[in-house]
Symmetry: C2
Subunit: 337 residues, 2 copies
């Protein structure tokens, strides 16, 4: 079975080898139209034999579905979007859909360039991702004729978006601490211009009540250190527990507490947020933290964009997916409530 010119076999080769017309071959392979069972089998066998695979470009051109979707991500492959993207990819590949990855580096010019390229390629849909709240999604996105799904990001009012349930996650963490009998609970978290930080802080305040105190800073380990410095350089009662806005912050907090010979969790219990294992597994003691189930988030977003691109309707609005609590040793033992 010799190559004909360009390389890959076309459906024409299959048809010729099977002694049928191109249309029959197509029908047989796709199970469309009317075909004799016998010829159908024959065509399929031959296609298999010569390793025929349909040209996705030609197919897409005709059917107007490219079976590709684009993902625009503004942070350069942060640890949030990537496990999520992996979840998206998992879902898509099972449906024969491929994923274009576009990193925009927060550069609007680049975002536009990527978006145009995606449209030129006739992608069936776009997933837009951004963690910062102060960066608006490009307004062109709302005027597209293809579906858009937002993850971590706020789309326009009638759009479809997926977020971790930050409030529920915060309640999980705080509730766990309260259940351990701690009542003076401090919240050390990241930048206030991240919506997630605010939502978590609010849920925390609601649960803790008047003694609640939120310290905003940035998302770094350093800030965790600095915050502890502040707390211990001022007078007044010290907290019995600290709920941190990220695992990195928690790591800084834990290190700073250890420097002060404060026992964790006996003197102060600590809970993080992210379950970024490379951090949460390595703190001493290992960190009890909130897992945002990023992969599942990706699954859901993938299924949504897949459905939308097929013309199915998907419940619009913000869907918030539940977080889970991963109990390690920085706040109560697994077995001890």
């Amino acid at each position: 079975m010799k190559d004909s010119g360009s390389g890959r076999h076309t459906i024409r080769d299959v048809a010729k080898a099977a002694g049928v017309s191109i249309s029959t071959a197509s029908n047989a392979l796709n199970g469309t139209g009317r075909t004799n069972a016998e010829t159908r089998e024959k065509v399929r066998r031959i296609a298999e034999e010569i390793g025929f695979r349909p040209n996705a470009l030609a197919r897409g051109l005709l059917t107007k579905r490219s079976h590709a979707i684009g993902m625009l991500t503004n942070d350069t492959y942060g640890r949030l979007t990537l496990p999520m993207a992996s979840g998206v990819s998992e879902v898509l590949v099972d449906h024969g859909v491929s994923l274009f990855l576009c990193a925009t580096n927060n550069d609007p010019r680049l975002a536009k360039l990527h978006l145009e390229a995606l449209l030129d390629r006739q992608v069936d849909g776009i997933i837009f991702t951004a963690t910062r709240i102060d960066l608006e999604p490009p307004p062109e996105l709302t005027r597209l004729r293809i579906p858009v799904v937002y993850v971590f990001a706020q789309g326009p009012s009638h759009s479809v978006s997926f977020h971790p349930d930050d409030a529920q996650g915060a309640r999980l963490a705080v509730g766990h601490l309260q259940h351990l009998g701690r009542s003076r609970i401090l919240h050390i978290t990241g930048e206030q211009n991240y919506r997630a930080a605010c939502i978590r802080a609010e849920a925390y305040q609601e649960l803790v009540g008047p003694t609640a105190e939120v310290m905003f800073g940035d998302w770094s380990e350093e800030w965790g250190h600095a915050a502890i410095e502040t707390v211990f350089s001022r007078s007044g009662p010290k907290p019995e527990a600290i709920f941190c806005g990220s695992d990195e912050i928690a790591r800084g907090v834990i290190d700073a507490l250890r420097d002060r010979n404060i026992s964790i969790p006996d003197d102060i219990a600590v809970v993080g947020f992210d379950n970024w294992e490379v951090v949460s597994r390595q703190t001493r003691p290992p960190l009890t933290t909130v897992d945002m189930e990023l992969k599942e988030l990706g699954h859901r977003a993938g299924l949504a964009i897949l459905g939308l691109s097929k013309g199915e309707t998907v419940q619009p609005g913000v869907e918030r997916l539940p977080c889970t609590l991963v109990v390690r040793r920085s706040a109560g033992q697994p077995g001890q409530s």
Copy 2:
């Protein structure tokens, strides 16, 4: 200018509006064939006006160049491949080429699925990435008619691949330590079945001579701790400096040394490898470490696959890109040699 059916404008719309034939429009837009300067301008102006953009599927179908390349990556978005991928993407987008991201999760079935999808889409080339040495690239890769570039991974003998120059990076680190007057230098590194680990270890041994000692383990912070435990639980002279195979290991090492009240860098100087800023910036003291210039690596790989896909020839073999040393405080002050 009304939408015609499916949505986007076609070159037919441009031609009609400009009062010329489709071929003239195409020639004018692409600068091919012979066209009167005046008509050329007119066509271009009109195309701009109505926002015409050529359908990449149709173009690709005809020209046999899809202007897309695929990236097969076996580790689920590790911190090595991703900055690299970002570099690839940067180069590609400037040439109007898009990137398919395929995460294979070390699953050969998934790898095959992704590879087939990429071929169906007529990608112009493939970048294959894998950090583990014990996992062979799928053998199908060598039989493709499109170019393949390997990064971090070993391709077949006559293929094109890019690696960080691990040996040079190791020499940079060890040389720096020696320059600071340290001679008893220990090397604590990761798994022996990573080629990078072996190369670095060898370069280290060559430079340090008979007193060299390599401790293989895994790539975790925990192993850094454990290694120090071992070193200090046995008799004999202690090292004056430690060259670590990764920043994570270095972090474990530094923490363990601090626990023992050993001053860094005065008693023992420490150098890492990776410059993973989220780690290296946060150790106390901040970590002097080797940067593999991953983005640059991506640039080079992107340019290579781009050139190859245009039919240019690219020097085959393994190209190793120089690492740089980032001097922080864990091994000598910047100003003090």
